[in-house]
Symmetry: C2
Subunit: 418 residues, 2 copies
């Protein structure tokens, strides 16, 4: 079922905001067999919105329009929709009641401009918004069915999950099924992955592609077919064939993030973890604790940004820092051992490096990174050069590598090289 | 000068990747007077790419196309461009030399599929890519000028900054000038901001809009005019009028992030900072150290996720945690004082709270948050309820509020309420 997605707002076409809704909508609806043909973004401008609605209905049978339903003067999606559809805006009493009760619930006074949000095109069907003040609506023309939803991401997503999806599925039955599968890898470049898999024979109804989602490379499979069973079988045959070639680089096959995979391994093996970070300064701990329930295995983090903090918080000998430098194998190992002993954790990881843009030398250029692990098996340490990258990329690469090192260590892999 | 931006790739229309290039390109070129009329994303599909190119040239005179120039089988932008333009792909020797020398420089072997990247449409002008293997190219038709650039963000952006911009500016002279200005606020909802500014009289050539970029609300001004001077003058008049109404909520007027603003204040006032984090667990420290040179003022972070860590690392009395709970004013204050004394910093900030989704109680629901500061003026503490939000949003709101508290404290504001 072909789909087009329009996001409306100056904030998008001026580039102040990145449109994350369109990607989310496409991904969510693809899992239910709908294939996006087009993303389109236009400014808050009556003519440009109308033109986008017109173009979209020539390309797709379902059109999802997000944004421009807010209370302020620059929100004119409903006005543009009325012009395009040739109907008047009318007050929807149920929408007004919902908005009023929402304001009562959060103990705020309703402003007059919120009343505007209860106006929807005549003949449109209301979509409730339990997460905000802007209701949505649906309107079908002969060529396409238009769903108007709020631009605020959480409101947009909940409305599509809870209301739009079921209405689309009710309209269409017996169509072709699509299922995506993403294998997330770290450690090989896109070209090398492509080469390693060039000779692979895949089922004819499976399409393979690669995508670099910094800092990982993803292998994306899309299978299509008439039945759920045929699609699932084709996907799992393709998945097995790929794992035979590059399995050691795949850290996730089920959508879980690397921090989730590491967390699940820690919980499964009943191990606790502490982290000592210098250049990444909280990034690794932040990622690990993005996962609900991470307090089961994550005990503490030591952000030892200054040399003094390394000595005070982790008992890294001041002499060692002076002799070897804060960015050295010896200091990384001492940080890991210090973190393990101070936190009383089973395992500790330490990262120290030079994230730049300044602070590099000929011997230790920007991007020099030391990662160390201390656990009951002893210690392990690795030096990396994350060159030709910007500060934020160096930090993200260091954090990703560190988490991947923990994953491989927990799996008992001997070879922790990258 | 009207602009359209096309991003090509299954990864975008399937929603696996969020298209950040289009926003970046729009924002960058807007600063040079170009207004984006349209963002368009289509899959890696010959017909859909051709159709997008055709539609774009009816809407804009400059079309920037990113993505699909890579070495793999699913990269077919050049093939689609050739079909659309009615020319053949030809080998560009200079492009091939660049790709070969790039592989030599990084000490890797060039794969055969990289050779494909040296094929560009006949009659197109090459755009060099010093950051990757995919060169870009430019091709002008009667209706529009097309720039093809790589999809990898850093390569895309550098090519536009260093090569595309100058070529566009060389084509167009004496056109209307546009300048944006963003005032970033925290502490008021979008509706309240809109109401506070409803009566404001702005210069006629300044357009004002709002945008919620979680967790902040931005006021965006766009001024247009014939001369640089008239545009700058109109913007600064609008800016002054807005500051008179809601100045205390504006934390940035020059594009700087909140962590940059806080960092600059710390440096200016010659103060050092330490952070103790429980539920945010590294997020605040990570944001502060995103800023190059933050080691000048940021000394250390204590991620005391477990109760034991709060006692071991910060000397928060175990009895206090037992009596008042880890999420309490008393523990937040003890964490801030402990961090200040352990790190030897001028100032310390502590955050403890319940990020959820579990762990909430009737008395302390998910979203309960305590923020405390210790400095030479004494201590300060505030309880917040960040309700109706998801774990990641609660953590981001807590981090944003904490940084804003530091900013207001450093400015000597008496009222730190939100």
């Amino acid at each position: 079922l072909p789909l087009a997605i329009i996001s409306i707002g100056d904030e998008i076409t001026t580039g102040s905001v990145v449109d994350t809704n369109s990607a989310w909508i496409s991904e969510f609806l693809l899992e239910h067999g709908m294939e996006t043909r087009l993303h389109l973004s236009v400014p808050d401008d009556l003519r440009k919105v109308s033109r986008a609605l017109r173009f979209a209905q020539t390309q797709a049978r379902i059109v999802i329009v997000s944004g421009g339903l807010g209370p302020t003067v620059d929100d004119l999606t409903t006005e543009a929709a009325c012009q395009f559809l040739g109907v008047r805006p009318v007050l929807n009493q149920h929408a007004l009641d919902m908005i009023e009760s929402r304001f009562r619930a959060i103990g705020r006074e309703m402003t007059n401009n919120n009343r505007k949000q209860a106006m929807i095109p005549e003949g449109a069907e209301l979509l409730e918004n339990p997460f905000g003040t802007a209701p949505g609506y649906v309107f079908a023309t002969k060529r396409a069915c238009f769903f108007f939803v709020p631009g605020v991401p959480v409101e947009c997503r909940r409305m599509i999950e809870h209301q739009v999806l079921s209405k689309i599925l009710a309209r269409e039955k017996g169509k072709k099924i699509f299922r995506p599968l993403i294998l997330r890898t770290f450690g090989l470049t896109e070209s090398r992955l492509d080469q390693s898999l060039a000779e692979l024979e895949l089922p004819r109804n499976v399409r393979m592609g690669f995508r670099a989602v910094f800092p990982e490379i993803q292998i994306k499979l899309i299978a299509s077919g008439k039945t759920e069973a045929s699609v699932v079988k084709a996907l799992s045959r393709a998945q097995a064939a790929i794992k035979e070639k590059v399995g050691q680089y795949i850290f996730s096959e089920n959508g879980r993030s690397l921090e989730q995979v590491v967390g699940d391994l820690l919980r499964e093996k009943n191990r606790t973890l502490a982290i000592a970070e210098s250049c990444t300064a909280g990034l690794i701990a932040k990622r690990l604790t993005d996962i609900p329930g991470s307090s089961d295995y994550f005990l503490a983090g030591f952000i030892t940004y200054s040399n003094k903090a390394k000595t005070d918080m982790l008992e890294v000998p001041g002499r060692l820092i002076q002799e070897k430098g804060a960015v050295s194998s010896e200091v990384a190992l001492a940080m890991a051992e210090g973190a393990r002993s101070k936190a009383g954790s089973d395992m500790a990881l330490a990262v120290t490096g030079i994230a730049g843009p300044t602070g590099g030398t000929a011997e230790k250029p920007v991007g020099t990174m030391h990662i160390a692990i201390a656990d009951e098996r002893g210690t392990w340490e690795k030096k990396l050069f994350l060159l030709r990258a910007e500060r934020s990329q160096i930090r993200e690469l260091a954090a990703q590598t560190a988490l991947e090192v923990i994953r491989r260590r927990l799996l008992g892999q001997k070879n922790l090289e990258f």
